[in-house]
Symmetry: C2
Subunit: 450 residues, 2 copies
């Protein structure tokens, strides 16, 4: 096999895809069917999962640190691969927020490498006793953390997810099957090569982190069916069409990652200066992240001028504001919001603004339109804040803080695969611990049950 | 509405089915379609879930204690209803183990009532902080336990599950939709009436625990599709055909309850007397429970005569033994086992016996044939035991104790809905805590993300 154009030599055991300049790689998908290739991939993952489940913390951490070094060393090659992806995406007319998520530069690659090192530095969750107790009959019961097994991750064109997700799965003792967005495929491949080298260097199976070698969407369908029992859980990260497909086709457990339709509610008791800072940060710090606020709700009983101040601050921060009648009355630059706006995740510099009847009005709006991701209240009144925090049931609820804190790193978990909006197993940021499960170990001295 | 034949008056808000003597009840299923009836049921459950999620611990406990009193008071009526179910099942030629699980007498009804009282006495899990920490930026983060929402339980003809499952769901702040086996329907209905009265007495919505009013299997399919978003999780308890149906049709998360293909492995280092006691208890204490051992594995290097002693003890306890060549050689009463026997959950006084090459042979056999439910090792050698406990990945692993301890009560959890053999969220005994999820509550003082 010849060195790839970008200088990152594909590993012998890694599937190589037909490169975009037309040269043939050792592509099993070209030689056989997508189904056969995915079957092989699933079996390899299951086998690797047995190995990494019993791997020492040291071996896993060594693999991650070596992968970080590989990433830094391959910066030029990764940027080069990323440029190919970016050029194709720009040509396809993708919006700026899409290109922003896709783009990699030396700083972001160093960030990925740091992310791997941070994950390596986390305590190994596998084998730790989460709880332990003794029964009156003398049996001691331990709840012991164990890996989930094989995790399938289907994600959009955010190449950094390749590193984060692969590393988190490995740290938790899982094998990972990564299927990134087709428009980030060159970037993902270059990153994956670094991960595989790290695994090899630590004596771990390279197939512990595999990248699906084809951009054929049939592969997604096969993953959702579990690859014949090879996949234990699917983590989908993507837009509504992927979510709909997952809900229709998935035959294995899923950590639901719906959209982040996040709200910030400003109560009558809010400190206006604090509210302004929080609202602008929650919307504008990064508009493309799932924790960005999409709808601002303002208490009808807020002091006069409060709504106008908040709207003006957003507009001055270059945000388009679409509001109800009250918001339009408050500032002539506000465009009218339609019913559709209340359920739109813009992921862009656009916000919808609505006036509601106090905290109960905010709760009712969020229960109707929210995605149970992240919602915030700005209020000085404690009882009002507690009502919001108790009655709502989003994965993350914040009081007097920006919704942009919806992030595993900000929670102190290290990196995350995403924010789960489902209700089972993982909810909120999905970090290392959320990628484990547990078993009960019971030790006796000959006890039988009466 | 007239009093039902069995003397338990159906509640006005409870669906009544066409009674077996042909009289018409207020059966919406007779009046409309199963789909419409289930839709109404789902909507009522969702509405009730909002109520019980915020209900006080006192109200929930009062409902459970009142339901226990109702159960004791209705003992004669429940036994009468159960006799109708038993007669029909006997006529249908159901085996003894089936009838044993179906049968209710005053003792078992009192046991159910005690179960409700024990659940009432458990601490309320809802609203407790499972973890709490402060970030360097001053944000405090709490992981707070919250109800799952609406739990759908599809179970076989074990009428006591009606009480246990309904009560556990309520204690955890959930609404329950119970769909019991059609052959226990009269018993389940009589029990459900007591639960509904308890709810009413405590001022809680009666629809917090609903019994599916029809034995039409279409209702199961509708539940598996989630009743239009009304069901958050399905807990199936049943045989292979139900499990297969769930895997094929479920569109909502499932707590997998596969079969209990439990093993007991007797190592060369085992104390033979202890092994004998554990093996006989693990198989014969109750043969119809999912924690009963179905396969005995004996170390090929065990002291001579060990296998014969174990086999003889089982046969003398009236257990049919089906074994491999070595087991047949050890005792002429052993019948030959076929390949099928290693994957058969007998739930009866039958056991399969196989000689294996030490602990690694036992691990390999269990990885091939087990259902990741409960497996035990009898061994004095600690390193061997740890190897078994570490390398296997069953929900419950025991050292020197009977597999019949696989039970929420024996674990100190109070009652359980069942033993989950899946890997996500709930694993092992599913008690009150496993029927909750969590959310993150983040409190700040105006923090924005840099």
């Amino acid at each position: 096999m010849t060195a790839d154009r970008d200088g990152v030599r594909p590993l012998a055991t890694t599937f190589a895809v037909k490169s975009s300049n037309g040269r043939e790689g050792s592509d099993p998908v070209a030689q056989g069917s997508v189904g056969e290739a995915m079957q092989v991939l699933g079996a390899a993952a299951r086998e690797a999962a047995r190995g990494v489940a019993l791997a020492s913390a040291e071996a896993k951490d060594q693999a991650l640190e070596a992968a970080a070094a590989q990433l830094r060393r391959a910066t030029a090659a990764i940027v080069e691969a990323n440029k190919r992806d970016l050029a194709a995406a720009a040509e396809a007319g993708r919006p700026g927020s899409f290109l922003d998520r896709l783009m990699l530069d030396a700083g972001r690659i160093d960030g990925m490498a740091k992310g791997l090192e941070e994950i390596a530095a986390l305590p190994d969750p596998v084998g730790t006793a989460m709880a332990e107790w003794t029964r009156p009959n003398g049996l001691t019961i331990q709840r012991v953390r164990v890996p989930l097994g094989v995790v399938g991750i289907i994600y959009e064109s955010r190449p950094n997810v390749t590193a984060d997700a692969g590393a988190l799965c490995l740290k938790a003792g899982n094998a990972a099957i990564l299927r990134g967005g087709s428009e980030s495929h060159h970037s993902a491949r270059a990153i994956h090569t670094c991960l595989a080298r790290g695994l090899r260097g630590a004596g771990l199976p390279e197939t512990a982190i595999q990248l699906v070698p084809t951009t054929d969407r049939e592969a997604v369908g096969l993953m959702l069916k579990g690859l014949g029992g090879a996949i234990d859980v699917i983590v989908p990260r993507g837009g509504k069409s992927l979510v709909a497909r997952v809900q229709e086709e998935a035959r294995v457990p899923v950590f639901a990652h719906l959209e982040g339709l996040c709200h910030t509610y400003v109560d009558r008791s809010a400190d206006l200066e604090m509210a302004k800072r929080i609202v602008v940060n929650a919307k504008m710090r990064r508009t493309g992240v799932c924790g960005a606020t999409e709808t601002l709700l303002v208490d009808r009983a807020a002091p006069e001028g409060c709504l106008a101040v908040l709207v003006a601050a957003l507009i001055e921060a270059d945000c388009e504001v679409r509001g109800d009648g009250a918001a339009q009355d408050a500032d002539s630059r506000v465009k009218p919001a339609t019913e559709q706006d209340w359920s739109t995740e813009y992921l862009d510099a656009i916000i919808s603004v609505k006036v509601v009847d106090g905290v109960d009005g905010a709760i009712a709006h969020i229960q109707t339109y929210g995605s149970q991701h992240t919602d915030a209240i700005v209020a000085d009144d404690q009882a009002t804040a507690e009502r919001f925090l108790t009655r709502l049931d989003s994965a993350i609820l914040l009081h007097n803080a920006s919704t942009q804190f919806a992030d595993g790193g900000e929670f102190g978990m290290g990196a995350e695969i995403g924010i789960a909006t489902g209700r089972l197993h993982a909810r909120g940021p999905v970090g290392v611990e959320q990628l484990t499960t547990f078993k009960y170990v019971v030790r006796g001295t000959g006890q039988t049950r009466p």
